[in-house]
């Protein structure tokens, strides 16, 4: 197979990581929402933790972007 084509396929495959990030994001916000509806008075206190989890999960998706960029441009 040509190297260019293989690079394109590899970079595309790196985007599969987004499936995991989608599941993770959904879990974080879903769990927060269900917990917040059960006990609204405790919800405000956990909001920073929610944002921390959001940022950490989002970063995983961006690792995939970095890997795709590395495959495309660094090799």
């Amino acid at each position: 197979m040509e190297l260019e084509a293989a690079k394109m396929i590899g970079a595309g495959l790196a985007a599969i990581a987004l499936a995991g990030v989608g599941v993770g994001m959904g879990t974080i916000f879903g769990s927060y929402l269900s917990a917040a509806i059960r006990n609204p008075s405790a919800a405000q206190k956990q909001f920073p933790t929610l944002l921390l989890g959001f940022a950490l999960t989002e970063a995983i998706g961006l690792f995939a972007l970095v890997i795709a960029l590395l495959i495309l441009f660094a090799f």
């Binding site: 921390l52 940022a55 950490l56 989002e58 970063a59 961006l62 690792f63 972007l65 970095v66």
Partner: protein
């Protein structure tokens, strides 16, 4: 220039070219923006603490909010033993926050979108935390690699995993910040390019997206500085309060 979204990440020299024994130390746009952010932080605190009152004025109130925010974050994540490291964490947080925020302005350069900058910051934290761990716990700091209550036949695997996860800390810490800034700014520029190419007829749609994305990027710029500082605190917590 308007067509290439990666153009904004180019480091170029400002002024004369300097080199010390073969190493290029010329003043670049990256150094310029680091200088600007340092000056901004210093002036912010200089003005705020110029005359300190019991009832604070507006700038002093802002200073106190920042101080209290970081103090609370450190005591929540790393406990009272981490109090001496407050200046370090505050500096790291404010430096990254200002660099991220300045980078959002048009024509500004985002210093934190350079992997070498974030990697250097992360390595400084990593080495610092390791030194603190060995200084506080002696050779017992190695117990961080051996969690208690592990079955004996799993022990070698767990130790190997713990060592790898410890060594990958600076990489994950730096790549997280770098990738967030790189992706966010590229996305903003790509949508800006759509506005130009669609013109006055269809350009309003990407323009409104662009406004929303800028709001998201301001959130991300703050969050990433916060995450960087919180993770530094968590690593400090590992070194200061060993439970194993």
């Amino acid at each position: 220039m308007a067509t290439n979204p990666m153009h904004q990440f180019e480091v170029h020299r400002i002024g004369p070219s300097l080199s010390i024994s073969g190493v290029d130390v010329s003043f670049t746009n990256s150094s310029l923006f680091m200088l600007i952010s340092s000056i901004l932080i210093i002036t912010f605190f200089m003005i705020g603490t110029r005359k300190v009152n019991i009832v604070p004025d507006k700038i002093q109130l802002l200073n106190e909010i920042v101080f209290n925010f970081i103090t609370k974050m450190i005591s929540d994540t790393a406990g009272p033993k981490a109090k001496p490291y407050f200046p370090f964490i505050l500096t790291i947080f404010l430096f990254i926050l200002t660099l991220n925020m300045i980078g959002l302005l048009p024509y500004a350069f985002t210093v934190t979108s350079q992997i070498i900058i974030t990697f250097f910051l992360a390595v400084v934290i990593f080495i610092g935390v390791t030194i603190v761990g060995f200084a506080k716990n002696g050779i017992g700091f190695l117990k961080i690699f051996a969690p208690s209550g592990v079955p004996i036949f799993l022990f070698p695997i767990i130790v190997a995993i713990e060592i790898i996860s410890f060594l990958s800390r600076p990489i994950s810490l730096s790549v997280r910040l770098f990738a967030n800034m790189l992706a966010g700014h590229t996305m903003l520029k790509v949508f800006g390019g759509f506005v130009v190419s669609l013109g006055i007829v269809g350009g309003w749609l990407p323009l409104s997206f662009s406004v929303a994305l800028t709001a998201l990027e301001i959130l991300v710029a703050f969050l990433q500085a916060y995450v960087f500082a919180v993770l530094s605190c968590i690593y400090l917590n590992d070194a200061l309060n060993m439970h194993h």
